[in-house]
Subunit: 337 residues, 2 copies
């Protein structure tokens, strides 16, 4: 019984690193979050320094669970960009300064972690994989995940496997196009949380919205800043702010059409909708999307065989997906005999 | 060496049945085409009678190749609608009268063909499969086929296998949606040959187009009818008819966006464009689509790794795909020992 029972999952984002130790049942034993931005400088570190920080984050997470690196079977890590999953190379991560060129994150992390095997994949892919392994898509083999944030990202699981594509760029759902009468734009320009916030900011700037102005004013007084967060959107929606109601409804319409398009192409078992705003609004966001999407399915038989559900794992989806990837890839190879 | 070396492929369309005998190399040994409409009546036969005709078409095709049913290992047949490929049941074929309800085409054909095993799949799926086995996508594993005709149909091959979907309805590419400023329509409403013809008919009716009127007039005089066929579109395009030029350009724009959307989602190795008009125009249609599609890819690296090519098999694609399906499914089971 010398096989280490634990793996580490890492979520590398534009501003933070989240590392977690995950046991064989998919339970998180410890979490460790640190900024990917250095506290001592305004400049964000390049890939070498980020690799250092991730290795540190993993070691600290292990220590927090009462473990050492020797207790880990493998590490799974995400990156915010396309990843060659065979080589562990991040091909480019536009949100991370210095990561424009390919960087071999897998091998670099492995070196820093005493040779532990490291698997790397795209962050949204791993979020969807986490939901399929432990969350809203558990037990399913054909799942499309759509994560709505500043932009819109996606991941495609078919036949029980993540799709990567010939250029490692599958799942760029936010960049599916919409077009008519000469106007053309990506889905995320109409439907992301970013798109919703922009419309709300515009209404605020033009003093068009008293309800929203009151909500933002009260939050500023309470020291919560003037930003339009998911929480502000939720409050403004509950208070019936017309701009917010209209912007969210537009997002829902476009996401419903996006889902219908994907279903007409792939006819999956399940579409999972995630991201902070969606998960915090829950069925308030998802139920109208579900109804409208079903109405747009070309095949109107058995529309409910295609489940449309809310993501279940919140911020843990990526680390859980990363951990599951690491376990699947390296779990057996480290078993004795 | 008692294994029959031949299989039959059948393409069942709205107006015709094409049966072909195919050898082990994928070469067609004989073709037999008959109307699916009965010559003696205006009414088209229902599913039972169509099954009779298909069985007859297969026997005649075999005879034309100097063979009998005993020389066939299996039969593959297409249907113009969703098919449960496990049971061989056609779930509905709206273009065939009497086929609104599910019909067990596979078992019914097998009964009529002395127990020969019969595999059934959707016609566009089999057209794409034919191209992957013997045509423009030979040797590739991740291919999306788009066939542009009266409507737009598609098929998706991932990991070397046709995608069917949880409701057997994957590949309905013509019904991916486009939306903006409150207007919403399916791709095929803008981009199909049907959409092009409609615009040309409209221009003719409004006497807006002298060039087109001359072409159609000359064809009528020559006894070729007043219909807007692929050949008329090709002639009008070559003569620079403005309505036709504009309608084809719109189709190309929309198809380019459709391809880019699919590539952003699936990042396949190859997109095959087929259908009578596309294959007859060749690069005149496909080259501008390729250029515009590449420009819309989200990942701009290595765009040419995603090939965008013209279908190569013309009207034989479906029977060849059906034959390949039958061989893959039943070729081994009928081998001795």
């Amino acid at each position: 019984m010398t096989t280490p029972a634990f793996v580490a999952g890492v979520d590398l984002g534009g501003t933070k690193i989240l590392a977690a130790i995950v046991d064989e049942t998919g339970a998180i034993r410890s979490r460790n979050k640190m900024p990917s931005v250095s506290a001592k400088s305004d400049q964000r570190p390049g890939p070498e320094l980020i690799a250092d920080r991730i290795a540190l984050a993993v070691q600290e997470a292990a220590a927090a669970a009462g473990l050492g690196l020797a207790d880990l079977a493998a590490v799974g890590a995400s990156a915010p960009g396309p990843v060659n999953v065979h080589s562990g190379e991040v091909l480019g991560a536009v949100n991370l300064p210095g990561w424009e060129k390919p960087f071999p994150l897998g091998p670099e992390l492995s070196t820093r972690l005493h040779g532990l095997p490291v698997a790397v994949d795209n962050d949204v892919n791993l979020g969807v994989w986490g939901e399929v392994m432990y969350g809203a898509g558990r037990g399913l083999r054909d799942v499309v995940g759509i994560f709505i944030g500043t932009g819109i990202g996606g991941g495609v699981v078919l036949g029980g496997e993540l799709r990567h594509g010939v250029r490692w760029s599958a799942g760029e759902i936010g960049h599916m196009s919409m077009h008519c009468r000469g106007m053309q734009a990506d889905v995320e320009a109409f439907a992301s949380r970013g798109a919703i916030s922009r419309q709300m900011h515009k209404a605020l700037a033009k003093r068009k919205t008293r309800i929203l102005a009151r909500i933002v004013g009260e939050r500023e007084k309470a020291g919560k800043g003037a930003g339009i967060t998911s929480s502000v959107i939720k409050q403004a929606l509950a208070a019936g702010d017309p701009t917010t109601v209209q912007a969210v409804a537009q997002s829902q319409q476009i996401v419903a059409l996006l889902i219908a398009s994907i279903v007409n192409l792939l006819d999956p078992e399940c579409v999972i909708l995630g991201g902070g705003l969606v998960e915090s609004l829950g069925d308030l966001y998802v139920a109208p999307v579900r109804r409208q999407a079903y109405a747009h399915f070309f095949l109107q038989q058995d529309v409910e065989r295609v489940q449309i559900v809310t993501a279940a794992l919140g911020d843990d989806a990526v680390v859980l997906g990363a951990a599951a990837l690491a376990r699947a890839r390296f779990g057996k190879a480290t078993q004795p005999g």
